[in-house]
Symmetry: C3
Subunit: 149 residues, 3 copies
């Protein structure tokens, strides 16, 4: 059977699980940022100061900015992974190898967020980033092998 995008395809079904996990992880960063803005009274817009007095100038808080950088890093890495995933599945990879790609990526990105937010000493975060990147690149190399110029 040719590889297809369908929940009948166990590889796609597994990708759907891990893709959902990393997308949810990424989406969570926004409410985390909001909570942190309330905690430090450091909002991005004047109209956001509804419960406390608006300061005379924009407050930039280190803890808030750290969560925002973590969020941006997710956008830069999680989004490419979930976009490349379906193309990779359509190349017809072996189920066990595909599963390894999805699981390592999800693990690396969850660890990346922990390393970023605690923060853990470097090179924890850098390593997590590199592992995730290698997975995406490996999937892209497979796609390029099957693609036509």
């Amino acid at each position: 059977m040719a590889p297809v995008l369908s929940f009948d395809n166990p590889i796609f079904s597994q990708f759907a699980f891990y893709a959902s996990v990393v997308i949810i992880k990424t989406l969570i960063m926004a409410p985390l940022t909001a909570l942190s803005r309330f905690k430090y009274n450091a909002f991005g817009n004047p109209e956001d100061y509804v419960t406390v007095k608006k300061p005379s100038k924009v407050v930039v808080n280190d803890a808030v900015e750290r969560i925002r950088r973590c969020h941006l890093n997710d956008l830069e890495n999680v989004i490419p992974f979930v976009i490349v995933g379906p193309m990779y599945i359509l190349t017809g990879p072996q189920a066990a190898i595909a599963a390894l790609h999805f699981q390592i990526f999800a693990g690396a990105r969850i660890f990346h967020s922990i390393a970023y937010l605690l923060p853990l000493p470097q090179p924890s975060r850098a390593l997590a980033y590199v592992v995730g990147l290698i997975v995406t690149i490996s999937m892209l190399v497979n796609v390029l092998k099957h693609a036509t110029f």
Copy 2:
């Protein structure tokens, strides 16, 4: 018939419409930013000062930055929605429920941009953001129900 990604599938065809609308809405933010940069002579790069004299230091303009934050918020929310959409369609949702997801999301994000750019008093923008997020989460929960660990 198994759910497929095809314009013959009315749910996909409708998703294609609303996904295009929210992607176009997101893409419009960049020309809006550019117009605003010209209006306030607040460019992001030295070489962008071609019609007016380059100031001695980078000008950060509140109106420009507001549009940029709105754009970034779109990237954080619209992109996950349009990526999750096809996976959600493949779970075989009921047509009417799927339509509701797509329409509420598009409405919430268009209102979010209006609330951000005017700006409307809070919690208008926060509410629009939360409604869009709930739609995406609802789609993700459906995907997770059909996915395999």
Copy 3:
């Protein structure tokens, strides 16, 4: 045959190639940023200062920020293109016209990065951005023509 997402479909196979190219181009911006941060000792987080002494306040370096703006511009433009691509393919475009879309987009975005990073005098970068945007809009118009309200 109805248009499908499969490497048996030459249009999809060609899209997979150009989509991979522009995603790899986007992913490269992060290691470039990292290299630049090491070159100028301008890191985004206190814990990133492992080989040099941490300065008393955050260092914002122009060269680093330029690469980051280029990266963000890629996210804003490359991601919508690669998401719209499969929907566009499913509308069943002519192979030659589809190829032109993919090739012009990839060319425009590679030139955009060169124009941003050197930098080339304006309107080089603005033009590259507009050409890429026109391609994505053209694909979106096709999708909207086939989609249902």
